[in-house]
């Protein structure tokens, strides 16, 4: 059980955009260089973020990715769900028992974590992180 690297990348990218250039378009090449990963793979991740409505892309020369106007409301959980999907950590109970106590305990614990992640906004972190990325 682990979060995927893609999620890690996505969070770093979002924070990076928020800190350095909230209104400028940035190309994949440049982002890939700064995060030290392949441009083509990064574009997959960015596509997911675009579909989730967090950033917008423009094609052609001088194209690239840019945060959407309402980016300040984006939380960690939003980014994570955009990449990982919003399925529950603990799949449905094996017996198909909807009253499964184990299921309930796990769901409650997961909710605690999500609550924390929902509360943490990228923009809050960006204020702290003018230097450290």
């Amino acid at each position: 059980m682990k979060y995927s690297k893609a999620t890690n990348y996505a969070l770093h990218i979002m924070l990076h955009l928020a800190v350095t250039s909230p209104n400028q378009r940035v190309g994949v090449q440049q982002l890939a260089e700064q995060q030290d990963l392949s441009p083509t793979y990064l574009s997959k991740i960015l596509t997911k973020l675009v579909k989730a409505g967090m950033i917008e892309s423009s094609s052609g020369a001088n194209g690239g990715y840019r945060l959407k106007p309402d980016w300040e409301n984006i939380s960690f959980l939003d980014v994570i769900h955009a990449i990982e999907g919003s399925a529950s950590l603990f799949g449905s109970c094996l017996n198909n028992n909807p009253d499964c106590l184990i299921q309930k305990v796990m769901a409650l614990a997961e909710e605690k974590m999500e609550e924390e992640l929902r509360h943490q906004k990228i923009s809050d972190l960006a204020k702290e992180a003018t230097v450290v990325l």
Copy 2:
């Protein structure tokens, strides 16, 4: 990102043992039948629980698995760590930056979940669950 089925199995097995036979030895065959999964695979899971010190095994005829004397203190988190390992959900930061803010946020959120799971004991659930498994 998902918890493995093995964890789900392990929790069910532990709860089952706690509810039905806290002091009796139970064979793999029997457990596998009740949880509806293959005995050989189940034995792998049980081995992990033995190594984690939660249950004990006896070989030979009339052998099987049994909860250890101090089973009442076992929490959900203990079982999960026994199966999944105790590594953090969010691997280390990509830049190897120990002060990575993202890392810290994720670790905090994870801690919230673990706190809940640590608090939940199998024995507590067993008291509720005399009928429902």
